[in-house]
Amino acid sequence: MANLQTNFLGIKSPNPFWLASAPPTDREVNVTRAFKAGWGGVVWKTLGEDPHIVNVNGPRYGAVHSNDRRLIGLNNIELITDRPLEVNLREIKAVKKAWPDRAIVVSLMVPCEEQAWKKILPLVEETGADGIELNFGCPHGMSERGMGAAVGQVPEYVEMVARWCKQNTRMPVIVKLTPNITDVRQPARAAKNGGADAVSLINTINSVMGVDLDIMAPSPHIDGKGTHGGYCGPAVKPIALSMVSEIARDPETKDLPISAIGGITTWRDAAEFMAMGAGTVQVCTAAMTYGFKIVEEMKSGLSDWMDEKGYTSVDQFVGRAVPNVTDWQYLNLNYVVKARIDQESCIKCGRCHIVCEDTSHQAIWAEKDGQRHFEVNDAECVGCNLCVSVCPVEDCITMEHLTDGVDQRTGQKINPDYGNWTTHPNNPMRVAAE
């Protein structure tokens, strides 16, 4: 069986699955239950200064569901921990003592003043925790008090606070980034410049989950009013994956360790983030949807997949997909594909036809010999993948790569050589090929 052990900034954990800083890690009972269930580590729910903050007493969460009530996206208007600092510190110390082989990172958020950080850091250090994570991400409530995303959106602040922390503690420092920003590379670079040991991302995305059309207010609502909250869960994974890949391939930050967060629900999600450069992954919504036991599926899935691929340790595949992320202009323009419909598995719903007919290239015939029959017309197919995306049957439509002959649509001979936009004749800014 593959070895799932990870060593992230010297913090060892038996597997890469950590619980993200959130309700599942808000207290000793939960964390103990999580470790019993097999989680490799936790990032303790964000601690702040006393007097502890106060949460709303109305609904804190909203959800996007499929019609079968599968939870696809979650949002929350919860704040950082609403328990006294001393209680949390005492519990962290006790849990670390009881579970020395698991990772315990402590998430922190105090005002943007050096004194505030200087005060809390030794208290955390004293617990024996393995590291700290700076919460520069919370988009609601805390940001209005000048913390969380309000810091994360200003690279100068990110750099400044990271530096204070590095100067005032020997614990590894992870900076947790907010996705509520145009270019995530800027705060990542700032974190690195401030001396941070790693970044983690993403925190939640600003969102309004719905509108109650009876009371004409956002839902969920508290006494008739609602507010924006942080979005997470399976729906945010693509956004998180993109941000992780940007940081992993940015020349300035490519060596910066990443702990990936955002919609990780299965072993495969985790493997994808790790292939994209993450050394560990953090999970919140999946645990909040299914309970801690979900980690069993993640561990067995990752380990079986590693066995199948012949990987014996996680660092053999961490980052392996990063070199294949590129800019649009470097994509091979001579790479021609055509959609192919497997008639055996086609159930003849016609979805591929109508989307191509109405919204794309009229490249799928709907009839043959007076019968319902769906087939691709190579003379019109641009290989866009829309039909593949809407077909309800897995692998029923596939893309065939043409390697010789003529592309019937363009009438041009298939060119087997690589050729991209930078050298394309239509590009006024092309560079002459050597």
């Binding site: 079968d68 072993w267 495969r268 299914y290 309970g291 979900i294 069993e296 599926e297 997949w305 897995e394």
Partner: protein
């Protein structure tokens, strides 16, 4: 009318299509759609309802996340015969009956079929998923290579013990090989699964070796560190009515066994008019298979109402769907011979219930039958246990065993149909074998 029992009632092609897989393997698409319906329930009721306690929500989620091999390992870790159980478990009265989707939509997650999807996937890879622990040097004898014995042997081998199985018949597998309806275990599945289970190593299967004939319990107790008895039920109950000895009156279990072992199904002899007596799974299997072989009329007669039958509602409806006529509230009185001296008709006395007791109504009827299949239950044969120095207690005609499956003799464990109080299901026999092995392991290693 002369008796008409013969083979070749249908063409080989017709018989082949009649006996095709009852629930063909789910395609990947079907498995995904079905797996997506599982809620990953907490303390899931389906798990509690499975005698072997398979972690059903976990294995279904592993299918959903495209890890069928991991899923199969989850299943086989709890139930090494998970492949056969996926085919033969009456899921409608076990795991699927209590699925919360049954409560929500009267349509449970198809747990059995998903279980088959995963286990078939792993078996196709041909690699045994478990390794043996370091050898303990302990030897255990297992008598009977049915589900109970095989499950016990496998778990003992996993724990590093060496096992010898003594099996009276020429093939292992027990009723998986000889008793399960042919359309539930096509393509020699019983044999393939047995090979797969034994491929863990450390288990020697000695066929043609009967306890009480070729080897004695005294000898086993002397030669081995522990003994497990998974003998099943060796005898069948008789009707106790006139005409029972006539040609054409057959034990349903024997009929099914002949059918399971026949090299060509269409050659199996079956009557033109078949009457099956009984209300359990064996009765249904015998009736359905008679029909599928080409019997023109098949009638199943049970002495009480439909709700009192041991066969589940699903099995009853399957029989009806295949064209079997189910008649209730009648008991057989006499089997009559025709001019050729063979069974020709059977007469019944109608019954009803009075104060919980079955009484005759005085009304009678007769059914033509060139074949009468008796399926009114099986009985344990204690004869092989007779030894000079060993004695084990019985209870209600079967072996008495505790929750850890230990008998009254400190070195002997027992499980499966041979033990009192069981459910007479494959999955229950597998669990018995597993529990006995765990108890034997604890006893042998002091763990």
């Amino acid at each position: 009318m002369p008796s008409d029992i013969r083979g070749d009632r249908l063409s080989p092609a017709e018989v082949e299509s009649n006996f095709a897989d009852l629930h063909p393997l789910l395609s990947k698409h079907e498995a995904y759609v079905e797996a997506d319906r599982c809620y990953f329930c907490h303390d899931a009721p389906c798990v509690t309802a499975c005698p072997t306690g398979i972690d059903i929500p976990l294995f279904i989620r592993q299918i959903l996340t495209d890890n069928p091999s991991g899923s199969a390992k989850t299943i086989l870790g709890a139930n090494i015969l998970g492949g056969m159980c996926a085919r033969v478990c009456p899921t409608e009265t076990l795991c699927e009956q209590v699925c919360v989707r049954e409560t929500a939509e009267q349509k449970p997650v198809r747990i059995g079929e998903l279980q088959r999807y995963a286990t078939d996937h792993l078996m196709a890879a041909g690699v045994h998923p478990f390794e043996r622990a370091a050898p303990t040097g302990k030897k255990v004898a297992v008598v009977g290579a049915g589900p109970a014995g095989v499950s016990c042997a496998h778990r003992l081998s996993m724990h590093g013990h060496d096992v010898t199985i003594y099996e009276a018949k020429s093939k292992g597998g027990g009723l998986n090989e000889y008793g399960i309806a042919a359309y539930k275990a096509v393509d020699e599945f019983a044999r393939r699964e047995l090979d797969f289970v034994l491929s863990i190593g450390g288990i020697e299967l000695k066929t043609g070796m009967a306890l009480g004939r070729d080897v004695s319990l005294d000898a086993l107790v002397g030669d081995y560190d522990a003994v497990f008895l998974g003998l099943g039920l060796g005898a069948t109950n008789g009707l106790g009515i006139a005409g029972e000895q006539l040609e054409g009156v057959v034990d349903a279990v024997d009929f099914i066994e002949d059918l399971r072992q026949a090299p060509a199904l269409e050659k199996v002899a079956v009557g033109r008019r078949v009457v099956v007596i009984g209300g359990g799974m064996t009765a249904i299997d015998a009736a359905v298979q008679s029909k599928l072989l080409g019997a023109e009329e098949v009638t199943l007669v049970y002495r009480r109402g439909a709700d009192r039958m041991n066969a589940s509602a699903y099995e009853q409806s399957l029989a009806k769907e295949k064209g079997v006529v189910l008649r209730h509230w009648a008991r057989p009185e006499k089997i009559e011979a025709g001019s050729d001296g063979k069974a020709a008709a059977i007469s019944f006395m109608k019954t009803r219930e009075e104060g919980g007791k079955l009484v005759d109504t005085g009304e009678q009827y007769e059914l033509q039958a060139d074949m009468v299949l008796k399926a009114i239950g099986q009985a344990f044969t204690p004869a092989p246990l007779k030894g000079a120095n060993t004695e084990i207690a019985l209870e209600g005609g079967r072996i008495k065993a505790g929750a850890d499956r230990r008998t009254s003799h400190p070195k002997i464990w027992a499980g499966g149909d041979a033990v009192a109080g069981g459910e007479d299901l494959t999955v229950a026999a597998v669990e018995d074998g597993k529990q006995a092995a765990l108890s034997i392991h604890a006893a042998l290693t002091g763990a």
